[in-house]
Subunit: 333 residues, 4 copies
């Protein structure tokens, strides 16, 4: 960490600041220039409050030289992480094609969709059992019963299953779930992240609607710092002023995250756009931009889905999508 | 709820849609115009998926005629809610001046600050015990021990206390806390909201960084729908492209929320701006815009605060702030 | 246009509103429902002030049934517009690969880059002569002399040229320019748009940093409404809270614009991301999402470029980019 | 300007960079630390491309030590600028209360409104003659004829007049206009700014919908760098995800701009909110936050205004607003 002092700072003021920093167990290296004096802080700067330091009268600005994340950082872990999910691998050249309905609705529905997406090329099944909804009066999911149906669909098709957790008190219900999803609204539910970090379950961590990529990585760091290395990142659209799409899918996030981190990056074009007809072009774009996987909503009868039907594809549309995604991946090899 | 059908929809298609809607226990009233056909949906439309309905081929658009929130709605509760917190009242003309440090750090610190802010005119004491931090390596608060120190400060000064909850499993520790704060990052932690709704504790619900005012009201509805009517809303800045301030304080939220809802509206200028020198002008502006209360960070030694010191006022600065806030409120009476 | 009246509006109030609307040469069709009364406004509603109408005491809300744009609207012009630029065609299946330096710097530079990008597969040459810069002290471009050098590069290579206009008073200098670019900062410089609408030059209209897709289409409508049908739209990133990339490239804009309009859609990944290494993945993503063209910054010596070198590719990198873009387009055919 | 080099940079690489910088007429001061090497660039760094420098392989990051604006900078001009507009003064403790209709519509209208706002305490009259409208089919203003009517209103009441310019070719029409407004959409129309810089007219420069405060100051610098020192800044709301208000009024901008610059800061609550009932609370908040003036839309018959009637106050409402604004200013003295 670098602190640039203001022009006109007296030696006494500088010394006072250095003493304060040394009190925090930091070593301080001074570079006096003609225009400015720069302090280099050496040691564990992850606990230093940058904003406080920057607010001091004699400090012009403060800059981190190293990223605040460690375990998710590619600098310290150059090889791609490959997450093993049942028989499937994700990352490091292995692609996840995750498909399924927004919500689990019934045994017939989830088994029918699971079989259909498997036939069309999916290698993981998604389905919501606990549903975070803006309104307390909207359908909140089948909860535990929904997870049981997902497990039946897994038994019927062999597809590993991905489903969202909203509350750590329900963790026991996820014992046979293959990938636990943390939704966008819980990306900074730090207590939930810490508890998931104590398991060894693969975690699919979605970016919050207003969270920077660095904040997403810091949330992944919360999980990894507790010992769970099986983390996957998911771009699912950010909130902007544009209202035509539900959110704005930030596809540049893929390359940025892959540069900064070794973790796999999945893209969810369904929630980002909120419109079924935008899902295929955004899925193709995600594949072309180098995503390690795509998560798509597929429903056997979109018009009757209990939630988010507007963004669901039919199994036939999904088969076409999967075919082209694979062809685009071939081009980029 | 109104559904506008596309020009060229056939009578058979229209009938098919009406049957589907009636299946959802809705009554449908048809208005056929020259240009468009409008369906009026009557009944409990709070469970209708607007996006799905709007995505159907024959539907041009869908519009809610009534707001999706009920218990927080001023239409059904015209009088201002007055929240009773120990001896203090908030809302309906009663003003909350909440002050205290970002974090509880020690017994001396919290009692000294509590006494100072009381002398300067505060009627509630704030202090963080559980701290949501972007980094897992940053100071996470004194937790339960911090709450105990707050209770001591309350005993010493008589000020009721406000502190944040991050995890419902810690609820027992809040038995003697007067106001439980839900932070911005947990505004859509719906399971937490539901559990808090089962208590009768006053709740201070902060707006999320990327949440609309309607979403804030829907989160308040989660609490109220479980039976807890003691909810206060808090504007604390939203995330925009501007980087000079930490967030952008949206002061128009005060009037909008007061028009749509009967709940008190508090403003937190400290977290919004992140800079101590911007706190007084934004506090004055909040008072002038009609806020029911202001929450300000005050520290006896801002430069040593363990977190967020950059935005803390000294007790002397706070006393001056409080004086002017009260004078501005006099002007508006 | 539909106006929904509030519950409780009296017949006299309704009649007063209808008279006012008829005064504006609109026909009004009334649909009285149980819950609400809906007025259908028929005639030229493009002059109606929706916000004013919506602000009246008795009006619940106002909704446009038809889009406010006409000439750019695909509903009235179902076939793709194909813009002819010298020998090149753009749109309707014809792809524009536009490449060149951010700024024209010298005759050698522009001719060398032009030859290199042509060899690598570009079919148009871009180069800035008039440069909009945030600072008055930054390099403002070679201006007229820069356009002359572009014309020399065109003579040397046969590539049609694209360059930006900032001020209608310089229009004469653009006589031999093939495509006139309107930059993001001028997207709502309506007087400039109107004047360009009086020419027959192909116009490349860039989306403003904070403009919705509908506003982009309305700006295109300004040009077309004056008689110029040769308009191309360009997505180049929008401003969001994310700071890692310069802007956030909104690739869903491609499909949305192609659905709403018949005009070709070009994507500029260089300005959007501001980083050379993000340009190829975003170019591939744009192609996969169905763009009608891509505009890329290429420089023979990126580290010495007078402006925006950080985002420029070398000719060798561009050749690789072009090859893969064409392969991705093959997949989607 | 400071360039921080990456760990592991070789002496030869460092020297190569230093040579390149010296070639740009910069002096370079080297501070070698244990962790990093910092280069201090001395000289005219306003022409250095920070992004290019930051993109070089060996550069970790680049940081400006001094602001890129000079003439608008309070560091070099500590005293508040006071702009003289006819008999009125603005800035340095002098307050501008600017009121009038969105558009000039007729001689009776503008003279009636002018007399009414003068009686209610306005010291400047606003009125739009050239109107930037999103749609080419919307009312575009009375143009030159509108300016003539404003001049008549000025003759009738003595109020100096403020009106917007959209195109430098119309500058002659503004000879008797007292303050020329540059609208939000033209904030970065740099050619327009430069031409206005060659006049001595007071300029009211509005912040663009997606422009940072630093960009606003850089646009003011464009005007001042050409010789015109009579510049006023205007906050009028920025574009965010919130849709309840038209834009989000950023009142913290007042203090920030006043700290960074010596220029007066005006606030326009009418355009920011788009709703008449939000104008008084936001005007009070702006006064409380220390604004040097407020610009409010007032119309004698809001429901019939040709544009933006939804946000106009009646003269009676404006009189009440003005009274309270002056009382709030008294509190802050």
């Amino acid at each position: 960490m670098i602190a640039i002092l203001k022009h006109g700072t007296t030696p006494a003021q500088t010394q006072h600041l250095i003493d304060w920093l040394k009190n925090m167990n930091l070593d301080v290296h001074i570079s006096e220039g003609q225009e400015v004096t720069v302090l280099g802080l050496i040691g564990d700067t992850s606990r230093v409050d940058m904003e406080l330091l920057g607010s001091l009268d004699i400090v012009e600005s403060v800059k981190r030289v190293s990223e605040p994340f460690k375990q998710v950082n590619r600098k310290f872990h150059p090889l791609d992480t490959v997450v093993q999910v049942s028989d499937a691998k994700i990352g490091g050249g292995h692609f996840a094609m995750i498909a399924g309905p927004c919500s689990v609705e019934s045994e017939e529905q989830i088994i029918e969709v699971a079989a259909a997406v498997k036939a069309a090329g999916a290698n993981l099944l998604r389905g919501g059992a606990f549903k975070p909804r803006t309104s307390p009066y909207a359908f909140q999911g089948m909860k535990g019963a929904g997870i049981e149906l997902l497990i039946k669909a897994k038994a019927a098709t062999g597809l590993p299953i991905v489903t969202e957790i909203m509350n750590i008190s329900t963790l026991d219900l996820f014992a046979d779930v293959d990938v636990i999803q943390v939704g966008a609204r819980n990306m900074q539910n730090f207590d939930l992240l810490k508890e998931l970090g104590k398991t060894q379950k693969p975690i699919l961590l979605k970016r919050g609607l207003a969270n920077t990529l660095q904040e997403l990585l810091m949330s992944a760091e919360y999980i990894m710092s507790e010992g769970n290395e099986n983390v996957m990142l998911c771009e699912r659209g950010i909130r902007t002023f544009e209202t035509y799409t539900r959110n704005t899918l930030d596809l540049s996030a893929i390359s940025v995250l892959q540069e900064l981190s070794h973790l796999p990056v999945i893209v969810d074009p369904s929630h980002a756009t909120g419109k079924a007809k935008l899902v295929p072009p955004m899925a193709y774009a995600a594949a072309a931009a180098g995503a390690d996987g795509i998560m798509v909503e597929v429903h056997n009868n979109p018009a009757c889905a209990l939630c988010d039907g507007a963004q669901s594809l039919t199994p036939v549309q999904f088969a076409e999508l999967n075919k082209k995604v694979q062809q685009i991946r071939e081009v980029l090899k």
